[in-house]
Assembly symmetry: C2
């Protein structure tokens, strides 16, 4: 009369499935093969093998960004987990929940410190690699004790949901087939985010926010990355609708507010905000409610935001809430935003005529005036009329991301880029993860990837996975013969900023594309690009399409070059402040620094 049992491996995958996860990414290795077998035991859960582990981590990260659930990555001991760790670093820095499951040497071999392949060396602990990953992980569990198997599994999954950070689960190869109590699967995990014992404080803060809103003449919301990461995008959109207040976005907040909605205020990037009306509106607001603040160099144009300088600034953040001069530490914004919405639904504030009215967005049209070679200045304007409701735009680090911050998105669009960690090559794996996530979610909009030729070289093989899984993204390769973003920063004519030229016409055929499922185009002029974008067959995504766009090696988007200049100015300010605090006198500024707020390698 024992309770029902399942193998440990199956327990793990059943848990993940029960939370909504339908795909697992990774690369097989001899220390995880018998774990992978258990994926097949869970109906509706599928394995996606990626070309290498780093791309697998990027894909799991992309899945998490789009899906709002943890991405799951399985790698093998040592060689696999360490290949993936840069992807974990990106997730750690940008609050992306990832569950990294690592197949490990068997426990008896760990005990005997056997010098098995993949191990760190003669006489060394097999757990050495866990010390490598720990600084980038919110929780790590090694399943080395039968008595705590399921508790540990549940613990790391819960930690992942609560922190929105990567977690590690190390599974010795002798454990996935061990039977564990299945009844525990009936108990739901605690994946909610709360401020235990601080419910009264939450109410108090919500009342203060409402009072501030009622007192202000020109309140505004500024929406940033962590709003999306903590699943609050729908709540914030609803708050905007109920209040009639404008929602401005930072670069990393792009697409959290629907750009076709009446409440969309525009893109605010501090001193380099492209639209002066938007800049004036944000900076003249007497109450700014800054939701999900993520104050990185590039996201704030070198910390040049000017918010509520003569009014009240409210910051809602996963780790603190502040209102004017008052800060409450260790208070998560999640329950606060939820309670605020609840109060607003009860009609707690009264709209005023003084509210900021965002600019009306016009319907974008293809320009008929563009001729000759493609130029950064006007190239990107061709895509606003091309995009459709529900499309997902993915922008690689560097040129593509700076240019697309200004790209006007259609309704219900999704937009993703990695501006803080800024790892070149990431967008290709991100696109794969997005395709998988969107398929799970039943979203039919297209995935449009913009990636530079320099970045693409790092991770190109993952396009193969897209082809073979039958995905049909549109991939625009911005071919400017090397690392143009770096040319802007330093050494414009140095050889190290050049790359090997590739013949992109062979990309799809090499990776298994056929004329039936894939197509390639190369365009160097507007006369070539515009007819393609207007072509219905091209736009229909009945095939995977790669479009090589030839641009000049020294041509770059305005926002990017401005940011580099601003970085130099910002640096002087920081130095001055530090010197003042330390009572130092600085003799000279060193010449070639480039901590410009520019987000690229």
């Amino acid at each position: 009369m024992g309770s029902t049992q399942v193998p440990l491996g199956e327990y793990i995958f059943r848990r993940l499935y029960s939370l909504g996860i339908r795909h697992i990414f990774g690369v097989p290795g001899d220390f995880n093969l018998n774990l992978l077998d258990h994926i097949d035991s869970v109906d509706g859960l599928s394995w996606i093998g990626t070309r290498n582990e780093l791309n697998g981590a990027y894909a799991a990260d992309g899945y998490a960004r789009c899906r709002g659930l943890p991405g799951v990555l399985v790698t093998t001991y040592g060689v696999g987990e360490l290949s993936a760790i840069n992807g974990i670093g990106g997730a750690f820095t940008e609050y992306v929940p990832l569950i990294h499951i690592v197949g490990m040497t068997p426990r008896y071999a760990q005990e005997a410190r056997l010098m098995i392949h993949h191990c760190p060396g003669e006489g060394l602990s097999h757990k050495l690699y866990t010390t490598v990953s720990e600084p980038l992980s919110a929780a790590t569990a090694i399943l080395d004790d039968d008595a705590s198997f399921t508790q540990k599994v549940d613990y790391v999954i819960e930690s992942c949901f609560k922190t929105k950070l990567p977690v590690y689960l190390y599974i010795p190869i002798d454990t996935p087939d061990i039977m564990v109590d299945a009844s525990r699967l009936q108990i739901s995990l605690d994946i909610s985010i709360a401020n235990p014992g601080k419910e009264g404080l939450e109410d108090e803060i919500v009342q203060k926010i409402i009072a501030s809103l009622n007192a202000a003449q020109k309140p505004a919301f500024l929406i940033d990355l962590l709003t999306r990461r903590f699943g609050l995008a729908p709540d914030v959109q609803e708050i905007l609708r109920l209040t009639g207040l404008p929602g401005f976005v930072t670069p990393l907040g792009k697409s959290i507010v629907d750009e076709t909605s009446e409440n969309f205020g525009g893109l605010y990037v501090g001193a380099i905000t492209p639209d002066t009306n938007v800049k004036d509106a944000v900076e003249s607001s007497d109450l700014v409610i800054y939701v999900g603040r993520f104050p990185t160099d590039s996201n704030t144009a070198g910390w040049s935001q000017k918010l509520a300088t003569s009014g009240t600034l409210i910051v809602l953040h996963p780790k603190y809430v502040s209102l004017g001069d008052k800060t409450w530490e260790a208070v998560s914004f999640v329950p606060i935003v939820k309670k605020l919405l609840e109060q607003l639904r009860k009609g707690s504030i009264t709209k005023k005529d003084t509210y900021i009215k965002p600019n009306k967005i016009s319907v974008p049209q293809f320009s008929e005036k563009l001729h000759g070679p493609l130029r950064q200045k006007s190239f990107w304007d061709c895509f606003a009329p091309f995009l459709r409701d529900g499309d997902c735009v993915i922008a690689e680090v560097g040129t593509s991301q700076y240019a697309t911050f200004e790209l006007q998105l259609p309704g219900k669009a999704d937009y993703h880029t990695q501006l803080f960690y800024s790892c070149i090559g990431f967008s290709v794996g991100l696109a794969l993860g997005a395709l998988v996530a969107r398929k799970e979610m039943g979203l039919t909009g297209r995935v449009v990837l913009f990636v530079g030729d320099g970045s693409l070289q790092l991770t190109v093989q993952e396009i193969s996975t897209m082809i073979h899984l039958g995905f049909k993204p549109l991939i625009f390769i911005i071919n400017n013969s090397g690392y143009t973003v770096e040319r802007v920063i330093h050494g414009p004519s140095r050889k190290y900023n050049d790359i090997d030229p590739w013949n992109f016409q062979y990309l799809l055929p090499f990776f298994g594309g056929t004329p039936e499922n894939s197509n390639f185009h190369s365009v160097g002029t507007y006369e070539q690009l515009l007819p393609l974008l207007k072509d219905k067959d091209f736009a229909s995504t009945n095939r995977i399409q790669v479009v090589e766009c030839l641009l000049d090696r020294y041509d770059s988007p305005q926002l990017m070059t401005t940011l580099v200049d601003l970085g130099a100015a910002g640096k002087a300010k920081v130095l001055e402040k530090l010197d003042k605090e330390a009572g130092r006198t600085r003799v000279k500024l060193d010449g070639t620094l480039t901590e410009s707020g520019l987000s690229t390698e």
Copy 2:
């Protein structure tokens, strides 16, 4: 009258140049660009940009393996260094000296904990990533203090030479242009390996070895990996020549002893030694001098070596020396081998008629009997007659490496594989590093790479670098439609062991190959393969050549399948020993373990 000064960046690169290093590998990033400028200041030192950082680490590792000098890798902060870390792991586990130079955020930004792109997160120390790399590094220095710049640089370089392990040099971006005292460059670094204060003990050990040699009837040398890593290959070859004794090699010792020399005993892999005569010779020897021992699972066929069971075993190792029951800890074998050679040059031993006489090696010939589809059993025999004196063979993890352990090498050949760390995909970067190192060394033999289709998917883009640098390796792709080594281990028909099929005919054109500088062949039968190998134009390496070899997905080399079986047997033994020690009774063996000594993911 101040002393001459040079910028810190130039100091570093002058140091590296003075030690013989001529090429630096890596990927540019905005935190290392102004460091890279200083490479150009050193005549004769060149930058090799790789397609991504992991491949760069593999290439630097391959360079070090072939060159006998540290490989140098430059990456950027966070995104770059972490992408490379799996390559550092491989170097750490297999005693490969690497100097990993990481461009870092400027010191003022570290002090202020600015949330600059690539950084770990809000309020976190910029030095977080150094804690990630430290477990895999023999020495780490952050150049954050002007007073110790050059001392720290010299310290990590010396550590690298002495330990043959990876070291890290973190260079904040505000430091490469700071002027430092150049006169220090006149002082040579201490890169020698000694046993300070133990010179008398060294002499005593050498005398004991010589006495053992004089007492033995059938002495033999067994040469292993660390002999090569610590630069002792020429010394050991000379010892064999002087003594007339046979030198047997482990798999990882392959090519340390010239296989055409009279002293070459053959390949010894414990219980699965392919040639029974070799096995008997080694195991019947009454004195085995085991030089550079590296006792990993695969290198010893699951620790099944039987050495001097009724005689004397001498082990010479970087960290200890043992003779029979006596072990001296913390004694490096380097001075001992050097002194032993010195003594032997003085004629300290007398050769005996009882010495083992190795089998005569016959000159390999192309078989005329092979017909029909390629089979693992005879496929590899086609390459011994194809190889030429001075060729360098590189074998990828899995099928290629197990098969080529048995491949008879020509004279002065070089052979490299990664059997312990066993990271799939490594061989492509290794081949690039080998090409660069061999060019520096003026070696004219060909580089012949054997790589499986599964492994190639991880790192394929590095072939582009070979093309664009004008290298002309011969690349044989063992296409068996997936991870066959894993199929042998577990889940032969599971989907996770399949990969996306690629059309290899487009590989070279995609990466920029032209008919003038590249060529592709696909062979599925001996009727196709043999004429190609006999073709003089093909063999001349006037172009980079890729040959796709079609083999069955379930066909694998005998040595590999035997090792898997042996792994299961070895496991039972280890369990029994551990249980005995712990006084435990084991109820059952779990079924599907695969810690088989098999070296693959």
